[in-house]
Symmetry: C2
Subunit: 418 residues, 2 copies
């Protein structure tokens, strides 16, 4: 271990750290002359350094014992780096093409060294704001979700493996509590951290706080979030946790990972795509009215769900006689029955996905953390109008999710809000 005690790294001590860790310096060809080091953490929780040497590169991510954007007033265990590292490795095992490789983990320093996602990789959210199409996005992200969620669930695992992994991730409770607060609680009550595009959305935010039907639904989802240990979920799978190029899709930042409901991940992604969709009118200008791009987003939404469904079922079929203990082959041994249980499983997962996706949308409009998709619309009135439409759709999805049969029904609902 390079350093015996935790200390937040600066550029100088980072170099000392690399020197003292043979596995890291060897990644740079043991040549630390002319290193480029750049701090790029635009998140809320960590330092992120890009380290580039003459013959190699990596990223160093260090968790700090508080939420960075708010400061030391909001403490947050740095042990989350441990869970992030375990999740990166576990998800990477099942989906190496879409998860950056972990080179080194130091629990004392809460530090992960991993593959540097070189340019032109950018955060997907920024690409969506810029109106860039990613033709492989749906294909990649659906594969990532299908593989990681399937293989860490009881469809693939024995109860023994499952309970042992569940127990370990119970330790990531502080991050789970943060999600509980910012997604399932704060938007539905008066909170010092909430904000919204005021005064335009004052009535809308108040309406959320006074909507009994909405609060009944959010309570059910919150319980499911805490109590249902369905799979090792990423826990924060929005479009800011994904880096993309035209050919590559990489999922990063699983520090919120734990055993939770699959629909929380799928919903996070789809919900953030819908936010991106509703933000487009705010980014339209004389040169580009964004109409074509909006269609691409809706197609991506639809393709992502349908491909996810397809790939997940294909994994299930492939492993139906395997080690998973949820549906024993001796019981679910005929095609008609297999089809029935898969249909029921996916109906439930679809409704979970819509509910969690809607919850993630709502919190981005009236909760503490907003999204750049809307924030970058400088005209507040225009921004509020985009946000209001997203909020209306989210409330509909949350309350009426059980009435939706398939993703094309969701796409229609999105269009109808226009």
């Amino acid at each position: 271990m390079a350093f015996a005690e935790f200390r937040p790294l600066d550029e100088k001590s980072l170099v000392e750290y690399i020197k003292a860790e043979p596995s890291l310096s060897s990644k740079l060809g043991d040549n630390l002359d002319g290193l480029t080091i750049q701090e790029v953490g635009d998140g809320n929780l960590n330092f992120v350094y890009i380290v580039i040497g003459s013959s190699g590169s990596f990223v160093i991510k260090q968790a700090l014992p508080y939420i960075r954007c708010i400061g030391e007033s909001w403490p947050m265990t740095k042990e989350r780096a441990y869970f992030e590292a375990v999740a990166l490795k576990e998800h990477g095992r099942w989906c190496p093409d879409n998860v950056p490789e972990v080179y080194h983990f130091d629990r004392t320093m809460s530090l992960i060294c991993m593959r540097y996602l070189e340019p032109p990789h950018i955060i997907l959210r920024k690409g969506l704001i810029a109106g860039v199409e990613y033709p492989l996005l749906a294909e990649h992200i659906s594969g990532y979700m299908a593989r990681t969620l399937f293989h860490t669930s009881l469809l693939y695992r024995s109860t023994t493996e499952h309970k042992s992994a569940v127990a370990e991730f119970c330790g990531n409770v502080e991050l789970c509590r943060l999600t509980e607060q910012v997604v399932f609680s704060d938007p539905y009550k008066v909170s010092q951290y909430n904000r919204w595009t005021s005064p335009y959305l004052d009535d809308d935010a108040e309406a959320v706080r006074n909507d009994n039907a909405l609060k009944v639904e959010i309570a059910e989802l919150k319980s499911k979030f805490i109590e249902r240990t369905q799979a090792l979920i990423h826990g924060d799978l929005h479009t800011g946790s994904i880096m993309v190029t035209q050919e590559s899709t990489q999922v990063i930042d699983p520090e919120f990972a734990f055993y939770g409901p699959m629909g929380f991940d799928v919903g996070a992604f789809l919900g953030n795509l819908i936010l991106a969709y509703f933000a487009q009118d705010g980014h339209a200008d004389g040169v580009n009215d964004r109409q074509k791009y909006k269609e691409w987003i809706l197609r991506t939404l639809e393709d992502t769900w349908n491909l996810f469904h397809q790939k997940f079922i294909a994994l299930w079929d492939k492993h139906k006689d395997g080690s998973g203990e949820a549906y024993l082959p001796a019981i679910y041994n005929n095609p008609a029955l297999q089809h029935l249980v898969q249909k029921k499983f996916f109906e439930d997962l679809f409704h979970d996905t819509l509910g969690f996706g809607a919850a993630k949308m709502i919190r981005r409009i009236v909760g503490v953390a907003h999204v750049e998709d809307f924030e970058s619309i400088t005209d507040a009135a225009k921004r509020a109008s985009c946000e209001r439409r997203a909020l209306e759709l989210a409330k509909l999805l949350l309350k009426e999710r059980r009435k939706f049969q398939d993703i094309s029904g969701v796409v229609s609902a999105v269009r109808q809000i226009q």
Copy 2:
């Protein structure tokens, strides 16, 4: 620690053990002359010794590393004694009147020393077979279930406390797997352990194995059993895990305890009451046609659920501004909303209860472990007829549980099977 290594106790080594444990010998007034020791384990998993001295008494329960009734061919971790001791203490904390006090626990020896439930305490199941009414049973058991389930759930606890307790009980996985196998799997497939009243129920057992709709439902319940960490449940709350007198109701044997769905406990109790009901015709004779007793059982069934509902809601209302993190007071702060979320919570719990209760009934008729209620009916044709009616009701409950609105509807369904 009295003994440095695990060894199964016999009557002789038991006395040595007591001598070496001051806390035990002092319970007997430090006088071990003229001890009465009786081995009474009629369960499948353990030795149970009743120890009575001139000035005190207790029970010693020791877990063996296999399932006793089947022999060493079915190994079973003796660590279950640890989880039983923790559950007895936790449940006893919330419901001391209905849980025997733990005097001493020895993890190495897998040994629990606890209060001796002196005569006329008998196993409730035996009382039900004998046709004895217990006027306080519904009152007591509803209180036990309401208090233990409420206080170990997120309605009372913080997420932090909850996840830590969940993680610990993930260790009781072998017992959970046993339940998975004997309740949710074996009855629905060909298994060497299954048995039924043959040849009378051969077609019925086969029909269970071929019932796709039933298998779809049992899969959903099995997933919920494994994945939903709702509360610290007893895990085996049938009428053989309860000792009673006219004034006292004591819940014993929580070695299957873990964080699971509340409905599994409530359903186990109600399901076993229904089994007792359907067994009565087999116990009827010229002196007693058992018609009055059957009415008492149905009344107890109905009272238990209604009182459980009442008491649980009363605890919820009492603690609604407390430490529980599921429904924060700042959000669920008006009586109409409070009523709405409670109604929804209990609808779900009711349907879970019926599903799990039905699953517990089915496994007692076509699975490995049967109930004395039926086994004590010596006329096989008569026994099969009682069992068949119970099985028909259970299949109806499992498949149609969502259509039942309240417990009186269940009672009507029970009557209609007659």
